[in-house]
């Protein structure tokens, strides 16, 4: 039985979780200005830890493991970082750090001022999000993951309605109800799995799971719950208002990372826990829903009047691509590795591109005083760096070379073609065209006309952060070989049913 002892570097895993937890606790206790400083200090430390974890995984070529409390599974809980976890940890730490520094000007507590509501909430909850995401990527225990999902919900929902306008409150409440519904279904599935096998450890389950009623029911329940949380079509209705109404730094984290967490768990579930389940129909269904999401989300994005809403609908569409990897990567065909890397690449490139674009949109909205798309004229002259960020991010969304989005979509495309599943080929191509349409709708007015009059000039550093994130999405297209080998580490060998 593999992996039931703490490996070298294992302690990094628990540190990646406990540091933000400690930061959150201290921020709540101390409050005010200190909350901000704690968040701004710990986020970059998180990047270092994530880097160290990635190095460890790459060096050993095997997952890094930590046994919490010295009690090994099934009684205790194990943390495990494979290549996918490591890369997600790194992405999370980078984007959270960027969001923290981006948010500094909006959520500063001036010296001597008393604690204020919005900054206090933002700085504590962003650390809550950081902790929750790290647990999702590291935990090897299905119930522990339930608690992580709840943490994620509780940290994300108040950020949506931070400014207290009625429409944000409606969005937050709908989001919360969807998320709770998702958690309860997930939890019910967890219960059934425990009832059948007496363990919730992912590795132990992988060895024990057999196709039987309890497992089918659990798989269905957990998948439905996670789909509601990741906002896959047709359960996407809560997402656009929630993501479009949060403050820019919050939108960036919600769209880039928070919806990826349930997706990550779906991958864990189907690839690591249930690989022995005959699942062709289910996987085709997931991909069909993904396809519908791509088409519907893109068409709705094309019709939006507001920039942030357009970007939010584009998230609905881009999540759809992630689900194309399920039928392709889970078959054990020659193309499965391409599809796997394509899916991971889409996760990463969308995260960076979308985070940067939401920040850029927030800057534009702040400087212009509105975010109506038809009135974006002259933005390109007035805020070139911001519009450049929107353009580079858009490049990745469309899947044009040389972006990370291109690599992702190209890999998914070739995998579909090799597998002979031509429907997905058509969907990917159509999705690219539609994305081209909505990105054009942003850029065409922005790049035309005389320089727009700005209420306030954006801070250079904030523009730079947005641009840097989208550039990372671009550079993913040039990822070195070691990056790909990292993604493959710890992937359990896919066995046919």
């Amino acid at each position: 039985m593999p992996g039931f002892a703490t490996t070298t570097g294992g302690v990094l895993l628990i540190l990646a979780i406990l540091l933000p937890v400690a930061g959150l606790t201290a921020s709540l206790a101390l409050g005010g200005r200190r909350a901000e400083w704690i968040a701004l200090t710990l986020a970059p430390v998180g990047v270092l830890i994530a880097l160290a974890i990635a190095t460890n995984v790459l060096a050993s070529g095997a997952p890094v493991v930590y046994i919490v409390g010295g009690f090994a599974p099934p009684l205790g809980i194990a943390l495990r970082a494979d290549g996918f976890s490591a890369i997600m940890l790194l992405t999370t730490a980078a984007i959270i750090s960027a969001a923290c520094f981006f948010a500094r000007s909006g959520f500063a507590t001036p010296k001597g001022e008393p604690e204020a509501r919005a900054p206090f909430t933002f700085w504590t909850l962003i650390q809550g999000l950081f902790a929750a995401l790290n647990i999702v990527f590291l935990s090897g225990d299905l119930f522990n993951l339930f608690v992580a999902l709840e943490l994620l919900t509780f940290a994300a929902v108040p950020i949506v309605c931070l400014d207290g306008r009625p429409e944000t409150l409606v969005a937050a409440l709908r989001y919360l109800l969807f998320a709770l519904f998702g958690s309860v279904f997930y939890l019910l599935g967890v219960g059934l799995i425990y009832g059948a096998y007496g363990t919730l450890d992912i590795l132990l389950l992988a060895a024990r799971v057999k196709p039987e009623p309890a497992v089918y029911a659990a798989a269905g329940l957990m998948t439905a719950g996670l789909l509601a949380k990741t906002a896959l079509f047709p359960l996407y209705l809560w997402l656009p208002p929630a993501h479009a109404n949060a403050p820019a730094a919050g939108s960036a984290v919600l769209s880039a990372l928070v919806v990826k967490a349930p997706f990550f768990l779906l991958v864990r579930l189907w690839f690591d826990v249930l690989p022995k389940l005959p699942s062709e129909t289910a996987m085709a269904l997931l991909a069909a829903l993904g396809s519908a999401a791509i088409l519907v989300g893109s068409v709705l994005a094309l019709r939006q009047q507001r920039l942030k809403l357009l970007i939010a609908y584009s998230t609905v569409a881009q999540i759809g691509y992630l689900f194309l990897m399920f039928p392709l990567a889970l078959g054990g065909g020659a193309w499965s590795m391409d599809a796997w890397i394509g899916g991971v690449m889409q996760t990463l490139s969308h995260a960076f591109a979308k985070a940067g674009m939401f920040m850029a949109a927030g800057l534009a909205a702040q400087s212009l005083g509105h975010d109506r798309i038809k009135d974006l004229g002259g933005l390109g002259r007035a805020m070139p760096m911001t519009v450049f960020a929107l353009g580079i991010g858009g490049l990745s969304l469309m899947g044009l070379p040389p972006s990370g989005g291109f690599a992702a979509k190209w890999l998914l495309l070739t995998a579909s073609a090799e597998a002979g599943q031509w429907v997905w080929v058509a969907v990917i191509l159509a999705g690219g065209l539609l994305a081209g349409g909505y990105v054009y709708r942003i850029l065409a007015p922005a790049l035309s006309g005389e320089p727009a009059a700005l209420n306030s000039a954006p801070a250079r550093s904030r523009e730079a952060i947005a641009l840097a994130l989208t550039l990372v999405a671009l550079l993913l297209g040039f990822a070195p070989q070691s990056f790909f080998s990292l993604i493959e580490i710890g992937r359990l060998p896919v066995v046919g049913p």
């Binding site: 703490t6 302690v11 628990i14 406990l18 937890v21 400690a22 959150l24 606790t25 201290a26 709540l28 206790a29 101390l30 409050g31 930590y66 046994i67 919490v68 409390g69 010295g70 009690f71 099934p74 009684l75 205790g76 809980i77 008393p114 604690e115 204020a116 509501r117 919005a118 206090f120 909430t121 504590t124 909850l125 809550g128 902790a131 647990i135 119930f143 522990n144 608690v147 992580a148 709840e150 943490l151 509780f154 940290a155 929902v157 108040p158 309605c161 931070l162 207290g164 019910l188 059934l192 009832g195 059948a196 096998y197 007496g198 363990t199 039987e212 009623p213 309890a214 029911a217």
Partner: protein, 313 residues
């Protein structure tokens, strides 16, 4: 069927009837009375499932504290325009009913298909119980075997309180919430609070203390203490503190903070985060439980009290 079977069957039917009422009742108040009764019945069901610890938690949190939360919310919603007119059409409701019925039947079938006797971690828990020094296996699971879950769940409570507070208008930040309470002091209520609260505190502390070996523990005791503070506030003998009060912040984080420190010290003394050195395991668990109880006793009433509704002084 023996007498016990009849009791169980009656109980199950009762639970279902009252749950159905809670869902179907037209008025919010009627539904919530149903829910309070439901929580009560459920705690008896839990007792019958040999889950005394859960029964205590359900009695205190499920029926008691949640009940007060819902009742006071319904009272404040009375003036609001409800979404009554948005009631879905009959075909839609029929579809929802069919879907729900299908889900229930499928779930029931799956539950009957589960192995009997089921797989269990009870033997493993029993074997490792000695290492923790406590006799109540549930406490051992919560504070030792799966302490990581328990810590994170405390963090969920912290996030919830930050989230609830964040819903205050900006001008009230730093001010105090208004807990549900009588419109003015009432003799009978004051008398009740003065008499019940001290007894409840003794019972709550007792539950934590015996929780190491008997049913009970930080959650159950903390919830009872929370309920006592709420009774005192309802009688207007005490008020919710301002959200910025340093002692309040300290009390909220005391549980998770001590848990974190104990967990980190485990890394030094026993080689793993959250590992407990065998010689000190039991006292350590009691210390952690004590601070967790404090945090729970303060967090639950503050969650019920809601966001600050007064400008800071």
């Amino acid at each position: 069927m023996n007498a016990l079977g009849a009791v169980d069957l009656g109980l199950a039917l009762l639970v279902l009837a009252i749950a159905g009422w809670t869902i179907a009742a037209r008025e919010a108040f009627a539904a919530i009375v149903g829910y309070v009764a439901y929580g009560l019945l459920l705690s008896i069901v839990w007792a019958r499932l040999f889950a005394v610890d859960v029964a205590m938690t359900e009695a205190a949190i499920g029926g008691g504290v949640t009940g007060v939360l819902l009742i006071s919310a319904a009272a404040r919603l009375r003036q609001a325009q409800t979404a009554e007119d948005e009631r879905p059409t009959l075909p839609l409701r029929l579809m929802a009913a069919a879907l729900s019925a299908l889900a229930a039947i499928a779930l029931g079938a799956v539950i009957l298909s589960l192995p009997e006797p089921g797989p269990s971690l009870a033997p493993l828990a029993a074997k490792n119980l000695a290492a923790t020094g406590v006799g109540n296996p549930i406490t051992a699971v919560l504070i030792a075997f799966r302490s990581f879950d328990t810590l994170l769940e405390k963090v969920v409570l912290l996030l919830a309180i930050i989230g609830v507070w964040s819903l205050a208008p900006d001008r009230y930040w730093g001010g105090a919430p208004i807990a549900p309470r009588a419109a003015r002091p009432v003799g009978a209520l004051t008398f009740l609070a003065q008499l019940v609260a001290p007894i409840g505190v003794v019972v709550g502390v007792h539950m934590v203390w015996v929780g190491a070996d008997e049913p009970g523990g930080a959650f159950q005791g903390g919830a009872i203490l929370a309920a006592m503070w709420m009774i005192v506030m309802m009688a207007r003998l005490s008020e919710a503190p301002p959200v910025g009060a340093p002692w309040l912040r300290a009390a909220l984080v005391a549980g998770p903070a001590v848990f974190l420190i104990a967990g980190a010290s485990g890394a030094v003394t026993s080689g793993a985060f959250f590992a407990l050195p065998q010689a000190f395991a039991k006292p350590l668990i009691l210390i952690i439980e004590a601070f967790m109880t404090l945090s729970i006793a303060v967090t639950l009433p503050m969650l019920v009290a809601g966001p600050p509704r007064r400008a800071p002084l």
